[in-house]
Amino acid sequence: MADILVVVEHQEGVFKKNTLSVVSAAKVLAGLSGGEVDALVLGDGVAAAVADVAAGTGVRMVLLGEGAAFAKYLAVTYAGAVAQVVKAKGYGAVFAPASTFGKDFMPRLSGLLDAPLASDIVGLEKEGDALRVKRPMYAGNAIGTVELVGSPLLFTVRQTAFDPATMGGAKAPVEKVAVTAEAGGTAFVSRQETKSERPELTEARAIVSAGRGIKAQENFKLVEELADLLNAAIGASRAAVDAGWAPNDWQVGQTGKIVAPELYIAVGISGAIQHLAGMKDSKVIVAINKDEEAPIFQVADYGLVADLFKAVPEMITELKKLKSA
């Protein structure tokens, strides 16, 4: 099969680690169907640093498309530029992360190329000669087996489903490619970053998430204290975000972030289907909730039926004891 292109996500020059899982997924396809895996970095001056990181992830080469028009990410310019590269080089498949980056421009690319897109994939297999794609549907309660017809094949990849490729390996060559951008009536205005010293939700080894049971924004202090002891990221259920207690990008669930850390602690979260869809692949799940009927307990390895305002401070005390032991 023709070669495979991975579109690298970066936040104005900062390489995003989700690309590592995307490279792994692309290599699964290469193993099944042949072809080599290349990476594409779009951006302005800062993109060279990203290309340098991408070059160490085991790809054959990195294509670098630079220009002032790519200084800020826009779906319109990205989809257009990727389409140019795909046509010029004849790629047979394009991969991107199923983050708000990939979910934004990849469908636009699908429309531009009239090419099939499988969203949020968790597996790739061969059935005889035919490629079969696995992807979660219905809030993760069904795994669909999907067939794609046409070319190029487009995929967005669920980060948690593929082990990340290693970073810092032998450097692949970086080649500049000419791409033009038509912003087509779209312009970047501003970005409001959620400031945090903690690990990112999708990269954290541990996550402490809070829901309706936390009752008020100021009570997140308790969650923060627990998270700090575990070097954990902080997540939230939709109820907590809707109530304005937590920023939108903390939301874990079907339509928010999909996470699978080593340890997920759900505090005062009942466990609606939509929330479970975002965290049920975590390695160890802890639930603290005073309602013993809460559905979160059905997926929890360690369920503690208790008032969180009593249990969490006790847990903090125990963890401190452990640390000082």
């Binding site: 708000t100 636009r108 069904a142 009536g185 809707d242 125990e318 452990l322």
Partner: protein, 250 residues
């Protein structure tokens, strides 16, 4: 402003779906179908824009005739009229987007609002594909939409990883909506009565001349891996001890 809102009926998202024994589909008998929750937010936003700027809100759906129940719900919320493109339920995102593009052109819509994702297929594709097919700007995952004084442009705040991002889009444009954009209203009783008399144009798919041959086919469905779950601990001390010594995650 002439606003087109594309909607989709989905199985009640608060119920866990069941997969047919042979894996060929999802069991839909005795399942309540509702307007996809993100589509409700899109309808609400369209109604609010009409309240401010005047204009017309047109609902469109692509699917089987029974979808008219959910279309009536949208009309009962306050939309003006509807177009139902009668088609099988097996159209993929590309096909639906191409059909919608045709309706958008026929209706000369100035803004298309739709949910960012339907909670059945979880694709999150149609709005962005539609924008590409029309050659229009797109703003996906909107949590705020503000029009410029001349109504020729809008600033759209988008829910993205890491925070919020605001972009400016020239109209016409496609905007897909996220959870925090608004709180959708319920249909009132007078609204439900009025909706029965509102125009619903049923258009056969074949009459639009769009190639809807699927490029993405779902061949079968299987249940996900089940977790054992259900373990209990008595107190915080036992929890921390087990996390350390049994699960070894501390």
């Amino acid at each position: 402003m002439k606003i087109l809102v594309a909607i989709k009926p989905v199985p009640n998202p608060d119920e866990k779906v069941k997969i047919m024994g042979d894996g060929s589909g999802i069991v839909l008998e005795n399942i309540k179908m509702v307007v996809n929750p993100f589509c409700e937010i899109a309808i609400e936003e369209a109604l609010r824009i009409r309240e401010k700027l005047t204009g017309e809100v047109i609902i469109v759906t692509v699917g089987p005739k029974v979808s008219e129940q959910q279309v009536r719900t949208a009309l009962a919320m306050g939309a003006d009229r509807a177009v139902l493109v009668e088609a099988g339920a097996d159209l993929d995102s590309l096909a639906v987007a191409k059909v919608l593009a045709k309706v958008v052109a026929d209706e000369k819509a100035e803004l298309v609002l739709m949910g960012k994702q339907s909670v059945d297929d979880d694709n999150n594709q149609v709005g962005q594909i539609l924008a590409a097919v029309l050659g229009w700007p797109q703003a996906a995952f909107a949590s705020k939409v503000e029009f410029a004084a001349d109504n020729k442009k809008a600033n759209v705040t988008r829910e993205v990883d890491g925070g919020l991002e605001t972009i400016e889009v020239g109209l016409p444009a496609v905007v897909t909506v996220d959870l925090r954009l608004n709180e959708p209203r319920y249909a009132s009783l007078p609204g439900i009565m009025k909706a029965k008399k509102k125009e619903m144009k049923v258009v056969p798919l074949a009459s639009l001349g769009v190639d809807t041959t699927p490029k993405v086919k779902v061949l079968s469905y299987a249940p996900p891996k089940q977790r054992a779950g259900g373990g209990r601990v008595a107190d915080a001390a036992e929890l921390v001890s087990k996390l350390k010594n049994e699960a070894k995650v501390l």
